[in-house]
Symmetry: D2
Subunit: 148 residues, 4 copies
């Protein structure tokens, strides 16, 4: 890679290859808003089938949105990486119909390990969850970049 332009192109290619196979994120109605080296933004509308026994969005779906943003960010460098450990703090409840946006940003990348912070926001801009994920590259190149 020679610079920013190539880094961005690689992030796009990696993301598109992942997205095409990501039944989970697409099945939940997520939108891949943007991706860049070490960064990704995804959004999702809270559906009726995401509401729990307290009448609010099940935390698992807020986590899943953040985890997907994390996955796109940590795979943006063209080396396959998987989640090892993740933590999430729930800040305020979310209702059916709200649109959530998760913005993942790389905090650290040393050796095979990476740390990514993801903030999940409601449409009014309020942070509703804060997530931190730890990734580890698993060797090899992304399928999408093997021929490049």
């Amino acid at each position: 890679m020679d610079g920013d332009h190539d880094g961005h192109a690689l992030a796009q290619v990696s993301a598109q290859a992942m997205w095409a196979n990501d039944n989970a994120s697409r099945g939940l109605g997520m939108t891949l808003v943007s991706v860049a080296p070490g960064e990704a933004v995804l959004s999702m509308v809270v559906r009726k089938d995401m509401v729990n026994g307290h009448g609010i969005c099940h935390g698992g779906f807020m986590f899943t949105l953040a985890d997907s943003a994390f996955a796109f960010a940590c795979n943006s460098h063209g080396e396959p990486a998987v989640a090892q450990q993740c933590a999430v703090t729930f800040i305020r409840p979310v209702r059916e119909g709200e649109t959530l946006t998760a913005h993942a940003l790389e905090r650290s990348r040393v050796g095979r390990g990476g740390i990514y912070d993801v903030t999940v926001r409601a449409a009014d801009g309020d942070a509703v969850a804060e997530f931190r994920g730890h990734s580890r590259t698993i060797g090899g190149r992304s399928p999408s970049t093997k021929s490049s």
Copy 2:
């Protein structure tokens, strides 16, 4: 509550009321295997729409299963409680079609705060994820127990 019998009965009543409204857990095909004071077991089969861009179960669904088991365990005492902060470690990948079982156990309950550990196992008994959740009671009694 006078003792174990009442504690178990309360846990059952709380769980059934929550389960009836829990679109999220039911929509993912979860089964509520058992519940007891401070404890819950839920299972789920990994469906095709839970697989991510690496061809394995999206970590978000493993988290969501653990989070549901946590929710049933921390709400088993008849006081509504919500998740504040949760962490998960992914130990090995999980494939489509595998049956996962999450067993939540109370580690600590002091004042309004609780700590619950959840182990998610595959059918062969391997632990595939370890989860720790922090709950906080939110005041009032569970809807299901208000009249009792």
Copy 3:
């Protein structure tokens, strides 16, 4: 408080009152470099009595430096706050004699809860640990500000 100036003055006053009583941080040779609303910087030299059985700085002392920075940041608003839950990732080993600097920044403050991120860096600028702390205000005002 009317604005930035008052916020900064309050942060200074709170920090000085805490520091005067903080045997722990002073006993470890920490220096309070700076404090501002939602922010604090502390430094510490790794002493011989901070080295563990692997010949490197015991992670506990890296945590303690980060935890002190977190404490000064979350107490910078004039309301006493305590740590509830903290997580730390160790990125690279640190040797005796290295100077570590911890920079705490507020990520979220809603109701009584706060989230603070602390990066611990070595003298060469490398991040050696990443810390995230959750605080909770405990009611009342800081002793130092009661008369103001």
Copy 4:
């Protein structure tokens, strides 16, 4: 290793070699109470120089005690292991003069990764902190066992 007896002997040998070099744990006045495969118990009295600006034991020292117990437990198998990521929840404040005991137990050990839970208790048996640590073996054998 042929069985439990050898596992215990190895844990003892590893622990004694680590302890001899562990300036940090000894300097804080810790006592190595017991060690076994995947398990360790350490205790410590809260000294005057461990008290923070709120007049209670600095969380960093509670973490450090737990972290030491974690280190002895994750190094008990004769393969050097280091801490990667740790989280701690503070349950109740601790005063100067209290004796704390940390009991570390292995929850998971797969490949190079391990998960250890440590409960820190006060003399009255109350849990005052819950800790979870993630370790990773770093290759080679413990110095103490190289000749065996």
